[in-house]
């Protein structure tokens, strides 16, 4: 099986064309990017609002748990039945799994900014929008990036399901391989998704480090 995988990967024909590995990788990244982008547009403002005002904390926790419990494949299948085949059903399913970690990161980051710092900002004459942009978000950055990192990893791993409804991505190898009893090909998909997740995780860890150097950490 491993030999099958290696010979698949070694065949130059599998690295070109619209069904080649680079093309599949591109599709996979594209779906994931769309999902994380849409999830961020929803979750960042919401997390800032809840973290800054403290309004809706309870709703946040229960809604996050509900979203986490949703089966992505089931949601996507349902959406395909309702909306027809297309890019939207898998992307929506991915957005639903990306929102909770981003929301949790932004909320926790903003809510955990030292109250004395926020109080000082307000007392010296900052209005709320400035407090959010100039104080809370910069200080929340490490936790926000942590949430984003978790979301990206989950989306990359789950984006394989797009292939289930006849779209591309690295899931293609898995579903095609399963249909053809070609387990070498299944393994190709699994290994590529894993490798992609690991590489992205490493890059994000690096980014988080660059953006929050030690000197900025409060050590009192």
């Amino acid at each position: 099986m491993i030999n099958d995988m290696l010979s698949y990967l070694g065949d130059a024909a599998n690295w070109t064309g619209t069904a080649g590995i680079p093309a599949r990788l591109g599709e996979h990244l594209w779906y994931s990017f769309l999902a994380v982008l849409a999830a961020s547009i929803i979750a960042v403002p919401l997390g800032v609002f809840i973290g800054h005002t403290g309004v809706g904390k309870v709703i946040l926790v229960s809604a996050s748990n509900v979203l986490r419990a949703l089966p992505s494949l089931g949601i996507m299948t349902l959406l395909v039945l309702l909306m027809g085949v297309g890019l939207l059903p898998p992307v929506i399913a991915l957005v639903l799994i990306a929102v909770p970690p981003i929301l949790a990161g932004v909320y926790a980051g903003v809510a955990n900014v030292e109250p004395a710092v926020v109080d000082a900002a307000r007392a010296i004459g900052m209005k709320d929008s400035r407090i959010i942009l100039q104080v809370e978000l910069p200080l929340a950055l490490p936790l926000i990036l942590g949430g984003l990192r978790g979301a990206i990893l989950q989306v990359i791993a789950t984006a394989t399901i797009a292939a289930y409804v006849n779209l591309g991505g690295l899931g293609r190898y898995i579903f095609d391989g399963l249909a053809l009893y070609d387990y070498g090909q299944v393994l190709v998909g699994a290994v590529l998704v894993t490798a992609l997740a690991l590489v992205l995780d490493g890059l994000l860890a690096l980014l988080a480090r660059v953006l929050s150097p030690d000197r900025r950490l409060v050590s009192r």
Binding site: E114, A116, V117, D119, A120, A121, R122, A123, I124, G125, M126, K127, R130, V135, P138, L139, R215, R216, L217, V218, S219, R220
Partner: protein
Amino acid sequence: MITFESVSKSYPGGTRAVDELNLEIATGSFTVLVGPSGCGKTTSMRMINRMVTPSSGRVLIDGQDVSGIRAVTLRLGIGYVLQNAGLFPHRTVLDNVGTVQRLLGLNKAQARAKAYEALERVGLDASLALRYPAQLSGGQQQRVGVARALAADPPILLMDEPFSAVDPIVRLELQQEVQRLQAEIKKTIVMVTHDIDEALTLGDKIAVLAPGGVLQQYADPLSILTRPATNFVSSLVSKDRGFRALSFESLTGLSTTELPAPDTAGRIHLPTLGNGFSAEINHDAATVCWSDGVTVRSAPQPIIRPGDSLRTGLDAVLASPSSAALLADHDGNIGSYFTLADLQPLLSKATRVSS
């Protein structure tokens, strides 16, 4: 002038933080609100910059009700120093200090130039300007907090327990720094503290508040010490009360003895003091070292000036190995000394005044 007009603050559930407070704080004065926790001192102070809204009553600045001024505009014109400095951990010292100027619309370069000036004013070296708050000591952070509050030159400065989080030595240093600054810039300062000593040292006027936010007495430090208006005030000032009151008595009328001429080595021999003490004066440092003839040479002792208080004079005599303290005249010439016996008449007079 800051005026509190029958101001009260209650919280849902019935807790009363401030109860019918009436207070007039003169422009250019240093007013200290003092009392135990839960006496509403911080709550009252934070009404001045609208960080707290009164449940009833009005707070006026120069006759204008603060509730009619936009909160952000009001706060930009009032400096605020917090207990733990409240600095922005993600900004350098320089950008922390320049924050208010940036909010007032100055560009980055202008704000930084002003920030350097403010750092100098509070005695911070410019080499610290590019550090982050976490890299500073507690005392330095507090100085940065004061610099940030002063940078935009606001007429009013509010200080919320500004020195309670630093060690006693740094606290003393910061208190002296604030006194020096106030002599220089003459702001209207309102400070909150639970430390009655700090209040007596720094304030021109002291407002003593009891739990539940009831004003007990609003007066100058000497009156608080010598004529406490309520039992609450007298219990607050009871410790060292007699000794502290001497801070407000002058050395006027002190009888002294003239110093003999120094010998060739610059020592002044005073055989009458017993043990044959001799004094060695350091004119630059304005200190004196005592030797008892042969062996011991004391640590430098301060030389008393005519403007010093009776407390300072008494302390110098008590701390001096020879039981005598040297006195300089108004021109700085050190020509006489005094002993406990010389202070006795002044002490007796002070006791009569305060009782």
